[in-house]
């Protein structure tokens, strides 16, 4: 697979208004506010759906969030025998439809990032739906709303492109898909190294 950026298919107008989740991994301070807030989203039913990891726990305090990246061609949905995982018109890969999910857990095995969680008792998969009740109206998802460090941001295509212009030094630190991801995603990621390309003020 090759790196594809489909930004060009968007008109200038959508680039100004269409917002995406953008992750600035270098900013993470490990507070896990995103996890706490996840449960607050319309009906996430007290279960958070994302992850924050200590990168090298015996060495330093670096942490990174790992959320559903909302793949353009999601392996979870591809592997679902019941077609329970739907893709919203905004590109969000939704949580399993409760009436369709048959509890086979194929999605948890298929997801290259290990995102879907499974509730054995309820025989039901649940995952990040990008707070679809918020994002469908362009209200930022809970995680990006509360993130105190701006690791998670809700940005327009244009704003993301600006960031890419500043920080993408063509050394694979700027990641929107390959080689650090397994395919194109709706969520954009900037690997640690945000400050590369930043010119010091003095």
């Amino acid at each position: 697979m090759t790196m594809t950026i489909n930004d060009s298919t968007y008109t200038t107008e959508t680039a100004k208004t269409k917002r995406r989740l953008y992750m600035e991994l270098e900013n993470c301070i490990g507070c896990r506010s995103c996890l706490a807030a996840c449960t607050q989203c319309g009906g996430h039913e007290q279960r958070n759906r994302n992850y924050v990891y200590d990168v090298n726990p015996l060495v330093n305090r670096q942490t990174m969030p790992l959320m559903c990246l909302h793949c353009v061609d999601p392996a979870c949905a591809r592997s679902c025998p019941a077609q329970a995982i739907q893709i919203h018109e905004t590109g969000a890969v939704l949580s399993a439809l409760v009436e369709k999910c048959i509890g086979c857990q194929n999605c948890t095995i298929a997801c290259p990032y290990g995102i879907p969680k499974f509730d054995e008792e309820e025989n039901l998969m649940y995952k990040c739906d990008l707070c679809i009740d918020r994002t469908k109206d362009d209200i930022p998802p809970m995680c990006a709303s509360v993130c105190p460090s701006n690791t998670l941001q809700w940005l327009t295509e244009e704003e993301i492109a600006e960031k890419q212009n500043r920080h993408d030094l063509d050394n694979e630190k700027w990641v929107t898909s390959m080689p650090y991801l397994e395919g194109e995603t709706n969520v954009k990621v900037n690997l640690p190294g945000i400050l590369q390309g930043t010119v010091k003020l003095f």
Binding site: R32, L35, C38, T39, C41, G42, G43, H44, E45, Q46, R47, N48, Y51, V52, Y53, D54, V55, N56, P57, L58, V59, Q62, M64, L66, D73, A75, R78, S79, C80, P81, A82, Q83, L94, S95, V98, E99, K100, I102, G103, C104, Q105, N106, A110, P112, Y113, G114, E121, E122, N123, L124, D129, C131, I132, D133, V175, Y180, E182, G183, L191, P192
Partner: protein
Amino acid sequence: MEQVTSKQPINGSNKKHQNNINNAFASHYAKSMFIAISGLAILTFIGTRMFTHVDLNLYGYMVGTIVFLGGFFYRFIAWGERPPTKIMIKKGIKLLFRKSTPKTSVDHLATYKFIWNRGIYRWTQHVMIGWGCLLACAVTFPLVFSWMYFTMEENGMYTIVLFGMDLMVVPADGAIAFLSYNALNISAIMVIIGVCMALYRRLKNMQARAEQQLFYDFLPLYLLLFISITGLLLTVINVFLHGKGHYVMSLIHQFSVIVTLIYLPFGKLAHIPFRPLSVFARNYREHYGEKEMKECKVCGTEFVSTEQSNDVINVLGTNNIEFNMNDGFNLAELCLPCRRKYRIARFSGSPTHQVPVKEANQNAKG
């Protein structure tokens, strides 16, 4: 509605006659349709004692059912052709005779234990709608195809006839008789209660609100409500209005049922006929889990059956999705925490997945 009975014979015959009969049909769809309609015709032939006992008032339902079957097979085949579904159905049928199948079936299809675990309210609502509908179908369809009918003897006894055989004779004013002629009323009330609960939850609950769509989530509820209310009104008309307006109301009721039947395979209610797959899925996980478990290529934890890991890899392969890493494993061979940590490692350049420290709590309750 009558989900269990209609599907398994179809799949069974599909498999048995695959080689010789397959070539006679233009498609799976045509074949299935042919078999289903033939089956229906034979059953009706037997039930009506060679078409001598047909209730012509109900012919609208018959047409509706046949249209429904067309839609259903169309949906089912389109669905069953998807690689992951195909695997699950194929292996599910093979494993159908596991010892645990009856228990799993009862849990999944009759008592809805997994819904109980999602909440008593939702369970009650689902039992009301589910069993209300099942009961209604169990009465309606045999009547429509004249598999079952009632006769009233002079002696005040009441005979229930099934496929031309006298099933039982009961006193006309007894409890069983009462339940039989009120079966549809009871089922209507159950469905109305269940639907009202569902509507209330949809209006109030945030999860439901977040993802609901008018046509997908509300239409089926309104349809069920429509059927139940018009059905109850029929009783009201008969009992209190001495049959005034019965004909119009029965047409409306018939119309509501036909619309629902046609809609059923395409909307949310489609989960009814497809639900038995969850029994297949459970058998699949149990059987292959007992056979051989996959050890995580990083930490060695057994996290899924080898079969499922391979199946998923293959399924994704048919979609041109491959997750073979340079580190010598496929991502489906890592347990979930390791897979996540591996990604962090890819992001950070530090070997997060190899640090032998318990991961921070990722499931803290809000």
